[in-house]
């Protein structure tokens, strides 16, 4: 016996929304494209903001970094909300599993003395660094021009407050279910000279109104800080009998690899812009001229403090990371103060 399955074929009037057809031709579009491209209003704004009467509600002039077409930037991860939260739910599960493993075996209580001090004095205070990073990135979500850029900033901001919470959870496990280690870490963040460079950087970014300049300073600092705290120390922890540190650090290093994908691509897109590429490069150089030394010193102070607690060669590793970053930036045609 044979069955004949018949489906009615109904002709589609169109494959996707007209703005995408105008941009990419008559082809089906992805959900990332439909939910991200041309979503922000661009014209016919009704009123000027009471808090910025010289600008429109959405205005390219909120930053000196410009793109001829804001949608020349597309997130290489193609994150719209649904895949973003799914990706982060999976990351959250993995982190929770590691933390639970560390917790049930009391591994943070069994850290060698130097590593114990490192976690309490230097890792836990970084939850405030992450919280500050969230404020910096959310500025981009409000003020970037175009949905693809601001959306990436939004998710990144949410990531950072998530990182701050993850570090705080480490602190609670570290203190066996209490919050006194977090209070002590906050005191360190406020007073320990080793952390003041970072705190000053973050605070100064909170009075800078150009989200892109803020983003760049944060990213340059992140590159050195993550390299030190979560790559260098991850490897060193394994050698130094601090497996718990490595187990937790890998999640931050893994997240940062993902973070770099969109930031790198944004920088490339800024520089590749036919009309504004050179101006963007010059604007980036301005940021480097103003902040590079400060960033290197801030992370250098942290590296020195790390080295004082665990002899892992942190200062040398941090210098090497800074030097590698100079090479990367110069390869983009940028001028790094005191560079090669």
């Amino acid at each position: 016996m044979q069955f004949e399955l018949r489906t009615q074929v109904i002709e589609q009037r169109r494959k996707t929304f007209s703005n995408l057809v105008r941009r990419y031709g008559d082809r089906p579009a992805s959900r990332y494209e439909e939910g991200s491209v041309d979503i922000q209003a661009t014209e016919n704004f009704h009123y000027r903001p009471l808090w910025a009467p010289d600008k429109e509600l959405y205005d390219p002039a909120y930053t000196v970094f410009r793109l001829t077409d804001p949608y020349s930037f597309m997130d290489p991860r193609q994150f719209y909300y649904a895949p973003y939260v799914q990706s982060r739910a999976a990351m959250g599960d993995a982190f929770a599993k590691s933390l639970e493993y560390v917790d049930t075996r009391g591994l943070l209580q069994k850290l060698p003395a130097g590593w114990d001090a490192l976690v309490g004095d230097l890792l836990l205070p970084l939850r405030h660094y992450e919280a500050g990073a969230e404020l910096i990135l959310i500025e981009g979500s409000r003020f970037a021009y175009g949905t693809t850029i601001e959306q990436a900033c939004m998710y990144s901001a949410f990531d950072r407050i998530g990182n701050a919470q993850s570090i705080s959870r480490i602190g609670i496990v570290y203190a066996d279910g209490h919050d006194h280690a977090l209070s002590q870490a906050k005191e360190k963040w406020l007073t320990d000279p080793a952390l003041q460079g970072l705190r000053r950087l973050i605070e100064e970014m909170l009075v800078e109104r150009d989200y892109a300049r803020e983003l760049i300073v944060l990213d340059l600092t992140d590159r050195l800080l993550y390299s030190l705290m979560f790559t260098h120390l991850d490897e060193a922890a394994l050698m130094g009998g601090a497996g718990a540190y490595s187990l937790l650090a890998q999640h931050f290093a893994g997240w940062f690899t993902d973070q770099r994908r969109w930031v790198d691509h944004l920088i490339k897109t800024w520089f590749a812009d036919e009309e504004f590429g050179e101006a963007n490069k010059a604007a980036f150089n301005d940021v480097l001229a103003a902040r590079w030394q400060q960033i290197v010193e801030a992370v250098g102070d942290l590296a020195t403090a790390v080295e004082a607690r665990v002899g892992t060669g942190a200062v040398a590793a941090s210098d090497a990371a800074a030097s590698a970053l100079v090479t990367d930036l110069e390869a983009l045609g940028l001028t790094v103060p005191g560079g090669k």
Partner: protein
């Protein structure tokens, strides 16, 4: 770690733990001035003495947020995929139902998106970490809603008119300047006004009136994706309502000087929001093939019963009174939808939805829902429109309407208690005359004339030559309108396609 001299005995309670993960992340700034880092929370005159008094409206960590939301989206997108695969649009009640969804897509996602951006502003610029984190979560949610709405309606866009250029249209088309100016107004205000405008007035006072009609309409008319979206958004919405309520209570509890400011915002934003959702009134009573309830019933239940008799009784404790023009709105509930749909009918040749004369079944329903007022509109308006149809024509208004300077709806509302006399108010500002549709809009104009004179009024812009050209066809092109988007429903592409699809089903069956 080094053991403190006196180790606390009890482990953290849920509340302490949440506080450690959120509020405690904040620190007193010392390298810069707090006022420079948070410069926008003083100019509106709201006094806050202690941000730590902010009660978290919900306790959600990033980890739990991601987990819940990922699960909800997995289910929602599974429904959307299944619906598209099975050509679910064929089992809608009727192609004319899509008109409600066209208005939804043209008007709502851009508003959700504005809410996303401006809650991000609060998430950055409110001084208190609890208030910032709640705003951050809402900003995320609003982006979710904008995108899930677009993705929900994406399948319909492939088969029906009116949806294909929703983002361009929301920047340009005359009736879409109503929602756009509403959100622009809130977004250009300060952060506290935004919290009252959107967080409280829109998300709390009026949210049921806005969303229940669309979502129940979807359920009644075979629109599984939109209904699923609605359910999926509901748990987000309930968080938003608690944030709005905490926002107003926080301001009122911080300083009694805040009361008159908050009351004035409430008065303004009730009326702004009420005028905005009058578009929903027209949709509910005239555009749904299968109706859920009338606008009048919805207004009585969701506004008069739940808000005036419920919420405002609670707020009276703080000295808050019901919004100043609420009596006018109550009076209008009998006529609002008739007036709005008549405006849409006359000008749908320049719109991205279709309209038609209510059929016999619709008329019977209207007569029952509005026994006092329907007979008037039937004889004054619809019998004549039907006569034109019977003679092979279709009545469209050949002119351009005058728009209210504030709500931007064409002047079509009437004097209270007198449904035959058009209401028009005017104000003089710097020697120019500005017209408004009601006492409510006039009052709003006169509070901030320097703001409302800036309005991008679509009709003025056409006259000034900023909308593609002097003739209606020029403007239609500039709007992004294509054949099949607007006009009369009977004989429209949507109706003809619908008939053809169902004819072939019958043949094959």
């Amino acid at each position: 770690m080094s053991v403190p001299t006196q180790k606390p005995v009890r482990k953290l309670s849920m509340k302490q733990r949440y506080s450690a993960l959120t509020h405690d992340l904040d620190w007193p700034l010392s390298y810069v001035e707090e006022d420079d880092a948070f410069p926008y929370t003083k100019f509106e005159g709201i006094k806050v003495h202690d941000w730590s008094k902010w009660e978290d409206p919900f306790r959600l960590t990033v980890e739990s947020y991601n987990k819940y939301q990922a699960e909800k989206d997995r289910r929602l997108y599974a429904v959307l995929d299944g619906f598209a695969q099975s050509q679910g649009q064929l089992s809608l009640s009727d192609a004319s139902y899509m008109n409600a969804m066209k208005i939804f897509l043209q008007g709502i996602p851009s508003g959700e998106y504005q809410a996303h951006r401006n809650f991000a502003h609060l998430a950055r610029y409110l001084n208190g970490p609890g208030a910032r984190f709640a705003s951050l979560c809402q900003s995320m949610d609003e982006l979710r809603h904008a995108q899930t709405e677009i993705h929900t309606l994406s399948h319909y866009n492939k088969f029906f008119g009116g949806m294909h250029d929703w983002n361009k249209m929301s920047d340009r088309v005359w009736y879409l300047s109503v929602p756009k100016s509403f959100f622009d107004d809130a977004g250009t205000a300060g952060p506290f006004e935004w919290l009252i405008a959107i967080g409280f007035s829109f998300e709390y006072l009026l949210t049921n009136l806005l969303f229940v009609p669309f979502m129940s309409g979807a359920a009644f008319n075979g629109d599984l994706p939109t209904m699923t979206f609605g359910f999926s958004a509901q748990s987000d919405e309930s968080r938003h309502m608690t944030l709005g309520l905490e926002g107003i209570k926080f301001m009122l509890e911080q300083d009694e000087d805040n009361l008159p400011i908050v009351q004035a915002w409430l008065d303004k934003w009730f009326w702004r929001g009420y005028r905005l959702i009058s578009l929903v009134a027209g949709m509910m009573d005239y555009m749904l093939p299968k109706r859920v309830m009338s606008w009048k019933e919805a207004f009585e239940l969701y506004f008069e019963e739940q808000m005036l008799n419920g919420l405002f009784k609670d707020l009276a404790y703080y000295g808050i009174k019901p919004p100043r023009d609420v009596e006018w709105a109550i009076q209008e509930k009998e006529i609002l939808s008739h007036q709005v749909y008549w405006i849409l009918y006359q000008f749908s040749h320049a719109a991205a939805f279709t309209t038609t004369v209510p059929n016999a079944q619709d008329q019977a329903w209207l007569a029952e829902a509005y026994p006092e007022t329907w007979p008037i509109y039937k004889s004054v308006v619809w019998d004549k429109a039907q006569k034109v149809m019977d003679e092979g024509g279709r009545y469209f208004n050949p002119g351009l309407p005058q728009l209210c300077q504030v709500c931007q709806i064409p002047m079509g509302f009437t004097e209270p208690g007198d449904p035959m006399t058009q209401c028009q108010r005017h104000s003089i500002y710097e020697g120019e005359r500005y017209d408004t549709c009601s006492d409510g809009c006039k009052w709003i104009f006169e509070r901030e004339p320097e703001k409302y004179v800036q309005a991008w009024l679509p009709v003025h812009q056409i006259y000034q030559g900023n909308c593609g050209g002097p003739t209606l066809p020029d403007v239609a092109v500039w709007y992004g309108l294509e054949p099949g988007d607007g006009g009369e429903y009977v004989g429209s592409m949507d109706q003809l396609d619908w008939a053809a699809w169902h004819a072939s089903t019958v043949k094959e069956g």
